[in-house]
Symmetry: T
Subunit: 69 residues, 12 copies
């Protein structure tokens, strides 16, 4: 049966550089425990503030990866 099935996990990446970098960090870390990642979707963009500046960007993603048979 060739129908594809995907599992979706939710990861929050952080970065002190920017929101796109937080996305990349989340995916890099997720690659240590899941394989065959196919897509992501941004759920939430937040961050912490320290001394009136952005201390860290926190972006929460859904990541979909295909399940092998």
């Amino acid at each position: 049966m060739s129908d594809h099935i995907y599992k979706i996990i939710e990861i929050t990446g952080t970065s002190d550089k920017g929101s796109d970098e937080a996305v990349r960090n989340a995916i890099a870390r997720a690659s240590k425990s899941v394989r065959h990642m196919r897509w992501f979707e941004v759920l939430e963009s937040r961050g912490t503030i320290k001394k009136d500046e952005v201390e860290s960007w926190q972006v929460t993603l859904k990541i979909g990866f295909s399940l092998e048979d």
Copy 2:
């Protein structure tokens, strides 16, 4: 303690037949790695189009299963 606890995972099933079949495929595949599935909820119904026809139906589910003590 008899209180029940459930874990919820998110799975996208696909099918070239229809949306209900995509749900069944997602549950069939999930059964290979989780046990005690109890319910599902449809989050999103999408699909791909090829040559002006539905190529595959993609239905994303939340699936709840009970955690054994």
Copy 3:
């Protein structure tokens, strides 16, 4: 005054065949207590799982029916 007024109720239909059949069952049962049903809208599609298969499809509908003067 010819302005029409509708009341909206919420019904969950179930079926072991599929999601469309659950919609039809909800409407069939609702017809026993309300008249002049005009439209429905799907709010939620869920179901129960037993032995790794869909046991029942549960579709929650809003159903609108016109109120007679």
Copy 4:
């Protein structure tokens, strides 16, 4: 520049057979005026009721198609 761009339109398909058929009818009709359709997403599932039965299924889709350069 090889970056792809997609336009998204919204179409309501109807059918007296069922919800999946309404999706297929929407895509078939859309193919008369747009080309290169790639995916769809179900936004809303509704229908009309006549004599206590579903008269027509109405499914509203977003359809994405690629814009050629």
Copy 5:
């Protein structure tokens, strides 16, 4: 690299005492399989009714825990 990454899981806790107790039960059970839990967020508060009284409170949580490098 000191950027923190969090994984988020979804758990439904139940209790016959109340909604806060259902949250505590979910977290207690989750602690058996994940470590470094940092925060939770309530997604949904439901329950079952038996003989006209609340039989069980069911609260669904997102729980975030940090992933160690």
Copy 6:
């Protein structure tokens, strides 16, 4: 036909004690006019404030009950 059908009503319960008590009050009152209640879901938690303190907790529920054939 053994397929079950549920009707869902919306009730706001109030209490000067707390939010869970408002849920219980809503269900207790609903039991005077409907039978076979099966589940509830919290839609909204609000309240009134008087002299800088919570005067009443107001919790709006959906309550599902099965329709007998």
Copy 7:
């Protein structure tokens, strides 16, 4: 026990004059079958179009009324 309980119903009012008038019509009609109405909330504002003009305004309301003990 002085805790108040409210039931909430959903009504669509229509008018050919405007959206506020559709609200008033819905409440006027609801008053024929329920008593002690206390508040309303607009859920949806729609309408039908005929010959390029608004034919009727359709406003769907939640209406809350208090249940007497």
Copy 8:
């Protein structure tokens, strides 16, 4: 095949008189480029403020019109 298909477009109408007038202006303008308009739905009601008064009402509509075969 008699199944009807509708296309849905999104238009923002403005008016300095009021929110219903903004709806009417949107429909009047849309009638210059589309035919067979059947319904509208209000998505968003906004406006601009000048010198502490409403300068213009801006109402965004979805408008559905039937596609001829």
Copy 9:
């Protein structure tokens, strides 16, 4: 630096005349404490009912005003 910054506040205006008048009343009152208001957005339209008629329209707005440097 010429980049503009806006602050957004939330105000509920009321009126016994209609929903647009409730918007105008909210803005008129807000003008007593904030300056440089630029836009509004309707968040919620509600009201109270007395003797089966609308007693007051209550419209909740977000109002944006520019912050001077």
Copy 10:
């Protein structure tokens, strides 16, 4: 003019006891800077976890208070 106007602010209260206590703490603190508070609405219920137990409950409220003329 007797039309009432309300301003709405957003406050996160915390407590190590439970979610209702977090609501009460938010209102108690808000009473130091605003007067004439009339109602609240729960927007979000979260919390922090330490050593596998709830460390603090964090409940975010909208609080409405009337503006005096």
Copy 11:
């Protein structure tokens, strides 16, 4: 009549550089077929993953442009 009317379209832009670049690409491509674009709003930020890295950023926008009389 000087009331302005806007049409809103939905476009997905992609980029291998980042999310802001995907927005710019969407607008650049849209400029080939529509004129008088006035504003955009981000609806959804997604992307594809290949070999554990972001392959393309996909940002879906609403774009509003004014309709000339």
Copy 12:
């Protein structure tokens, strides 16, 4: 009592450089009037378009800051 309380305000920052810069500008400006800012959350990303290019990025944030006792 050591329970922390936070107030949340809503600010729109703008920038002609990009969306992250708009966030930083909003926080920089907010620091002139509030102290002890702790976190932010992106609510909405929009912008204006001029001559077929992004003229300004407009990002609306919730900013939370702790209230001192």
